[in-house]
Symmetry: C2
Subunit: 232 residues, 2 copies
């Protein structure tokens, strides 16, 4: 009899866009947190960093903290994750805030010394190990919607720090698309025109977007590329 072979989590991590974020209970710098309770009915950014007291991470957590006013205005919560313990996080926050003047790390950072959360959250970097050979997190970032589903993910390695402008841009795109039947074109920035979703007929679009819209004249003459302006 051949045993059922199930791919191991480390070679086949599950979490991708459309999946519900697992409702893990995490020890954090703000005490115990259950992910679904923490997300509540907000958008939430759950992001990992390889290790406390390392260079890129120190610049990144300051960058996230500096964008807190922006995120709070949009009702977006933040949750950091690494494998270091809570005491280490608390000591390290002093470095983070010192390096990025004006940053206050007011969001919780979870401690995952057993590497259970980072496996379930698809945040393992197979190329990075700590001094004891244990796996370390990648620079993974999931934007979770109020339905607790992953809407977008950026999976970067330890060597590439994120762009806060890109994180804010994607959150604002997701929030616009959740509110209106629109999508954001390549290189869109907040305030730029958006496109009307293909499922919306021209008749419906006239009702939904009384401000009007412009149909691009393309060789196919299919009329699918329609721009409109949404006031934010």
């Amino acid at each position: 009899m051949i045993a059922a072979v199930r791919p191991s989590i480390s070679t086949m991590p599950g979490l991708t866009i459309g999946d519900t974020i697992p409702d893990l209970e995490l020890e954090t710098t703000h005490g115990k947190i259950k992910i679904h309770d923490y997300v509540g009915d907000s958008f939430c950014i759950i992001f990992s960093h390889p290790a406390d007291f390392t260079p890129v991470c120190t610049t990144e957590l300051g960058g996230m903290a500096k964008c807190m006013p922006e995120f709070q205005k949009s009702g977006v919560k933040l949750l950091g994750v690494s494998c270091d313990d809570v005491e280490s996080h608390k000591e390290w926050i002093k470095d983070v805030e010192s390096f990025t003047p004006g940053s206050h790390v007011r969001y919780p950072i979870a401690a995952d010394p057993k590497r259970e959360a980072i496996k379930q959250l698809n945040m393992v970097d197979p190329d990075e190990k700590d001094a004891e050979g244990k796996p370390l997190p990648s620079r993974a970032l999931h934007i979770v919607g109020p339905d607790r589903k992953v809407k977008a993910s950026m999976l970067y390695p330890a060597s590439t720090g994120r762009s806060m402008e890109e994180v804010v841009r994607v959150v604002q795109s997701l929030q616009l698309a959740a509110k209106y039947m629109v999508a954001t074109p390549v290189n869109w920035k907040p305030g730029d025109p958006v496109v009307i979703s293909p499922g919306v007929s021209d008749e419906e679009a006239k009702r939904m977007f009384p401000q009007g819209f412009e149909v691009k004249d393309l060789p196919s003459k299919k009329g699918y590329l329609r721009f409109t302006q949404i006031e934010s």
Copy 2:
């Protein structure tokens, strides 16, 4: 007898950073391509779009085409993927090039009507279906290294067009980190200072970076945040 239950690919897609890209044979606008042969010893960006003749995709493929000179300078190849057939791609390219003046879609676009490639490449968007109820790709983008491993991924939904600036930025970060023992901090842009990897001792750093480096003075006094300038 109970059949071995293997999680379905749609609920447990495998491909994440560190994984080798599957060596699929794809029908493309440039003929048959085997992914590993195509990657060769270059960096390669493999990216999906939900469907031909839809608004965001038309802006995005033009954006990718417009960055071709930048990518060619860095030796980076491009490969598009969607579920439409090759004839559809070829017709649609006329719209793409018409919308983005100066863009020439010179990279291949693969046709995956059977949805086999998008499943194996973790490019399925479970929230999007075509008129027949078949799955559609998300706006997934994998940056694959010369070792055919996924170095970074951006998984965006149909409603969020990518930022070409961010794609170029991440590619340049990955290429710098592949060449020198450095990493790029939050919000780094090409030409900005980089940080020296934690594994490099100060003694080694003096040899590796004769241009010198600056150690940031932080409350922990651990001296791990070291900036240097790399000429590109």
